[in-house]
């Protein structure tokens, strides 16, 4: 390779790359918020007795767990936009698509969290005379969250990794910035190494600092 690893070029593009990382993290956080909210609704519908509610929720979960972001985002951003005239901006399409895909996983996480609370806990709380709200706040939530929070933290890592793709519809995230810098300087190795390194550093930092602390915070107290 000519001139070895041109770290000076990476530094020259550093501000753009960091801005791209900010965009990627922002998209991932917004998408995670969508997943947390939509996932809760889907999980609630999935628990319903009426087949008119649980069958669509079940289908939603199966469908989106099997969908790849690349296919879905192109379909929404180009296909659906042309067919219906509903044109989302790139960031909007990215957040909606990422959020919807991961809301299916989030729904399964809620379900796993609720089913981790033994039946006897509900019965005991009722026998003690706790109201419906207090039952959930004081008895069910602390136990369910011990399962839900660590799993959701893992899911956020997946959301952030998946978000690397949103540049294909024009979001200026790290990967798209690296791609454009590569075209400008024709130094793909430097910029793609920097981009991949930024993801790895962010994700390792998240899982070792944030996720671990969340796990401890919500771990069952004995």
């Amino acid at each position: 390779m000519e001139g070895g690893f041109r770290a000076d070029l990476v530094l020259a593009g550093g501000r753009l790359l960091l801005a791209g990382l900010g965009v990627a993290v922002g998209v991932a956080v917004a998408a995670m918020a969508v997943a947390v909210i939509v996932g809760l609704v889907v999980a609630a519908l999935r628990q319903a007795r009426s087949p008119w509610l649980w069958v669509p929720a079940f289908a939603y979960i199966q469908l989106f767990r099997g969908t790849s972001l690349y296919v879905f985002i192109l379909w929404v951003y180009f296909g659906l936009a042309m067919a219906t005239g509903v044109a989302l901006p790139p960031v909007g399409a990215a957040v909606v698509c990422l959020g919807m895909l991961h809301s299916a996983y989030m729904a399964e996480i809620y379900r796993a969290g609720l089913s981790a609370v033994p039946r006897g806990q509900f019965e005991a709380a009722r026998a003690l005379g706790l109201s419906g709200f207090s039952l959930y706040r004081d008895v069910v939530a602390p136990q369910a969250l011990a399962v839900i929070v660590p799993a959701a933290a893992n899911l956020f890592v997946d959301v952030l990794k998946d978000s690397a793709l949103v540049g294909v519809v024009g979001v200026n995230d790290v990967m798209r910035v690296a791609d454009r810098l590569t075209r400008f300087y024709f130094r793909p190795f430097e910029f793609f190494t920097a981009a991949a390194g930024l993801y790895v550093a962010t994700i390792l930092a998240f899982s070792h600092l944030v996720a671990r602390r969340l796990d401890e915070r919500f771990a069952p107290r004995s």
Binding site: M1, F5, Q62, L63, R65, G66, T67, S68, Y70, V71, F72, L74, W75, F78, G79, L80, M82, A83, T84, G85, V157, L160, K161, D162, S163, A164, L165, V168, V174, M175, A178, D179, T182, R187, P188, F189, E190, F191, F192, T193, A195, A196, Y199, V200, I203, L204, S207
Partner: protein, 219 residues
């Protein structure tokens, strides 16, 4: 003017759609084979003293890197830096396989750990050779844990295989991208490509669920 749906264009191009889907499946299967072999090597290496550390670092790193970033790094970056030209298909399978290997290593590790130490001790005490200990005692039990996890990992590989067209693998999405531009009909082509890919993953996921149920029933 409302959008004019032209589904007959899809019907007219059924051949490249079928071939593209086969290419996508092929990428997924080859990547999974690579990941299964390399993942096993990583899982075994993790138990060794010196290479163990390198294997653990590899697993940590690869689980933190996005497939898209690794694919572009491998295809554009490394080929320029190292002067080796990887074809799109090789780069696609390598990147998907090398990342999945890290997840497979964790799956093997969990499978091997699930077999109680007492099993190995008992088998040794019965006079079984080291090979027989693994072949007849450890593996049959570990497989019950490994197989369902590996199968659901394959669903992830199948989803990942959808992106390799970004480096030019002539798969289903590559054709859908091309045809969408050629006819300016993205809805029809992306819908069909999406339906085929999602249908495939849902089918595989259903098969995985069945497999899990059968293995659990046999326990």
């Amino acid at each position: 003017m409302p959008y004019q749906f032209e589904w007959y264009l899809v019907a007219r191009h059924w051949q490249p759609i079928v071939v593209g889907a086969l290419v996508t499946y092929w990428v997924a299967v080859v990547s999974m084979a690579l990941a299964s072999a390399f993942g096993l090597a990583l899982a075994l290496a993790q138990r060794a003293p010196v290479v163990g550390r390198a294997a653990r670092v590899y697993v940590q790193l690869m689980r933190a890197v996005p497939l898209y970033a690794f694919l572009l790094w491998l295809y554009y970056g490394l080929s320029v830096a190292a002067g080796l030209t990887l074809g799109p298909l090789v780069a696609g399978c390598l990147s998907l396989g090398l990342i999945t290997a890290a997840y497979m290593a964790e799956i093997y590790r969990a499978g091997l750990r699930a077999v109680g130490r007492g099993q190995v001790d008992a088998a040794r005490a019965l006079g079984l050779s080291p090979v027989a200990v693994y072949r007849d005692v450890v593996l049959p039990q570990a497989v019950r844990v490994i197989l369902p996890a590996a199968a659901s990992q394959f669903v992830g590989v199948l989803k990942g295989a959808a992106i390799v067209s970004v480096v030019g693998v002539p798969d289903l999405m590559f054709f859908a991208n091309w045809a969408s531009l050629r006819y300016f009909k993205p809805f029809e082509f992306y819908t069909v490509a999406g339906a085929i890919l999602v249908g495939s993953t849902v089918l595989v996921a259903g098969a995985v669920a069945l497999l899990e149920r059968r293995l659990r029933a046999g326990r």
